[in-house]
Amino acid sequence: MQLLQLRQISFHYQTAAKPLFDDLDFTLNAGDCQMIHGHTGSGKSTLLKLILGVMERPFAGERHCAPQLCLGVVMQDPNVQLLRQTLGAEVAFALENLGVAATNMHAQVSQALRKVGLFISLETPIETLSLGQRYRLMIAAQLVLQPDILLLDEPWAQLDNQGVQELTVLLAQLQQSGMAIVIVEHHKRAFSSCVTHRWLLDAGQLHPYQENDAELEPALLGITGGRTKLNASAMQAPVIHAEPFKVGFSGQPLLFQSAALRLYPGEIVALTGDNGTGKSTLLKCLAGIQADVGNLGISVLNQRPKLGVYGHQLALLHQRPSRQLFESSVIEEMQFSLKRYGLPLERAPQMLARLGLSALASQSPHQLSYGQQHLVALASLACLQPQILLLDDPFAGLDSGFFCQVAKLILTLSEQGCAIVLASHRPLDLLPIDQVWHISDKRMQCFAGDGLTQNEAYSRVG
C-alpha cells in the first residue's frame, strides 16, 4: 500500500547557487525500509522535513499522502526531542496532547516501551539513560501514536555499535508489522539487514545506490600511506605521563581505572570505548577542565592540568565543535586565537588554502554546512600548532569527503610533532595510530598500535 509520494519536487534556498531539489521523486509503501545516503549539505535533512510536511519555505511539486497518515521522527540528536523528565511522562506526552484519559495511558505507554525493549521503571529519570536508551525511548514516544511511517535522521553517528545492533533488530520488527521506515544516513553499511531500498541524494535527485566498497579507502590510503612518523629514539620527554590512576566523580562510583600512560610528541592515540564509559571525562581531565574529579596525578607538559595554563600549547576540540563559532567570517574565526596568542595571522589563510576552503574565507561560519563548520573549528585550533591536540569524537556526523580532510589535517599535525588523542565510540578504521587507550568494564587498557590501523592493532593483541 502506498503511503506517501513526492512528485517533481523542486526547491531552492535563496542564498544557494544551485537548487537543492530538482524534479525529485520519492514513493514510500507500507513495509518499506528505505535508506537515503548523500554528502553533507546534499539536502537529506530538508528531504525529511519535506516528507514530514513541515517545510518552512515554499517549494514546487506535489506531496501526496494516504488519508489519516501518521508520521513519527527521531532527529539526529534525540536529546532535543526530550520534553519531559521521566520515562513514562515522555512517552505519554503525545497521548496527553490527544486528550487520552490518564487511566488509559499506562497500558499504551508500557506497550510502546516493551516494543523498543526498554524494560525499566516508568519513573526512571531520563538523565540516567544512555544515549542508546534515549534513542529507543524517542522511538517509543513515536510508537505510542501508532505511526505509519517512522523517519530516522543519522542514527549511526550517535549510537555505539551495540546501540546500532539493538536498533537494527527493532527496525526489523517494526518493518514486519507493516510500518514504513526512512533512514537518512551517510554511513553506507549500517542497518543493511533490514533495508529494502537504497538511494543516493545527489544533484537534487534520488538515484538508486550501488554499494562500492572501494569508495573511501583509496582516498584515505592516499593520505595515510605517506605518513612520516617521528623517530622514537629522537623523542624527548613524554608530553603526557601518568602512573596508574583511577577516575571517578567525588561521592560516586569509580568510572574507570587506568594503567600508566605515556604519550610522546607526534604520536596519535585512539581513545575508544562505548558511550558513557568516560572518554570525554578523561579528555577534560587532560585539559584540566573536569570539575568534581580529584588530582589524578597526570602530568601534561610537565605540569598538573589546569584551565588556562597551557596557552596555545594544548587545544581541545569538544563534541559539536560548531558551538565555538561566533565571528562574522571564517577568516576572523580562524584568526581569533592567533590574535589572542600573538601568533602570525598569515597561518589562517595558509591553513584555509591547504584545506581547499579559501573560497569560504569571507563567509559567515553559521552559513556553512555541518562538515565545513566542523573543519573550520578544527582548523582554527590546528593553526595554533599546539603540542597536544585533544579531539572528542572528531569524525561524528562527517561524510567520507570530510572524514578524509579531517584525517589529513590530523596526520599533518602529527608529522609536525603534535601529540594527538582522538576519542571515538567505535574503532578508528583506516587511520594509522600509535597507541590505543581502550576503556571497557571500568578499566582502561593501553597498547601500542605501531602506526597500524586500529583494527590491525586490535587483531595483534588478540
Binding site: 521522527v73 529519570p125 558551538r323 561566533f326 582554527s380
Partner: protein
C-alpha cells in the same frame, strides 16, 4: 481539571544551579502540591507583613520568622548567606544614617534592616522546604497550558544550559579569549564575554527552541483543546 503535572521527581543535576547554599533532596520535606501552595502563600504573607505591619506587631512576625529560621536550620539550610546579607545591609545603612543624621537615629536604621531580613527569611525557608518542581507544579495551576509546558521545558533544560555555558566558556578560554575572572575585572573585556560565550549560546537556544517546538508539534502539541496529564 487536574493540575499540569509536568513537574516530576527531583533531578540531581538541577541542584547545581540552586543558589549559593544549595540543598540536598532531604530538605524538601513538602511533597504535597497543595501544602506547597500553602507554603508559598505563607511565605508571601510573611514577607509582605515585614514591610507593612506597624512596629508594635513586629515582634510577633519576628517570632514567627524565628521559628522558620530554626526549622530551616534544622533541615540543613545554610544561614551564612543570610548573615552576610544582614551584616552588609546593616553596615551600609548605619553608615548612611551616621553620615546624614548623626548617631541619634541609628535605631531607625537597625529597625529597617531587621524588616528587610524579616522579608527575606520566608523566601529562604520556602527554598529549603519546597522542591523547585513542587513550586513549579503549583505555579502551573494558574498558567495556560502552553506556558506551563514552556516552564517545564525550561526547567528540564537547566542542567543542559549550565553544562553548555561551562563548555562554551572553557572552549573560548582555551582559544585565548580574555574572559578569565581576572580579565573580567576590566569592563573592556565584557564585550568579549558577550561575543564568545553568550552569543554562541543564544544561537544554540534559537536553534534548540525551533527544534523543540517542532518536536512538540509532531507529537500533537496543541491539537486537543483539553489535554490530559500523565498520572505522576
Amino acid at each position: 481539571m487536574r493540575p499540569i503535572l509536568v513537574w516530576v521527581k527531583q533531578g540531581k543535576k538541577q541542584r547545581h544551579l540552586v543558589s549559593a547554599d544549595s540543598h540536598t533532596a532531604q530538605h524538601f520535606i513538602v511533597k504535597n502540591p497543595k501544602l506547597c501552595a500553602l507554603c508559598i502563600l505563607l511565605s508571601l504573607c510573611l514577607s509582605s507583613c515585614a514591610f507593612f505591619v506597624p512596629n508594635q506587631y513586629l515582634p510577633f512576625i519576628a517570632l514567627f520568622n524565628g521559628v522558620l529560621l530554626l526549622q530551616g536550620r534544622y533541615l540543613g539550610g545554610g544561614v551564612k548567606g543570610l548573615f552576610l546579607l544582614f551584616t552588609t545591609q546593616l553596615a551600609i545603612t548605619c553608615a548612611l544614617y551616621l553620615l546624614l543624621h548623626g548617631g541619634e537615629r541609628i535605631d531607625e536604621a537597625m529597625l529597617a534592616v531587621i524588616r528587610i531580613l524579616l522579608a527575606i527569611i520566608p523566601g529562604w525557608w520556602l527554598s529549603i522546604t519546597c522542591a523547585p518542581q513542587r513550586i513549579g507544579e503549583v505555579l502551573s495551576w494558574c498558567m495556560p497550558h502552553k506556558w506551563a509546558f514552556v516552564m517545564a521545558a525550561c526547567f528540564s533544560l537547566l542542567p543542559r544550559i549550565g553544562l553548555e555555558v561551562k563548555d562554551t566558556y572553557q572552549m573560548q578560554v582555551m582559544r585565548g579569549a580574555n574572559i578569565t575572572p581576572k580579565a573580567l575585572c576590566r569592563p573592556k573585556h565584557w564585550g568579549e564575554l558577550i561575543y564568545c560565550v553568550l552569543y554562541p549560546l543564544l544561537i544554540q537556544l534559537l536553534k534548540l527552541s525551533k527544534q523543540m517546538a517542532l518536536a512538540a508539534k509532531l507529537r500533537r502539541f496543541g491539537v486537543h483543546h483539553k489535554p490530559t496529564h500523565w498520572p505522576d
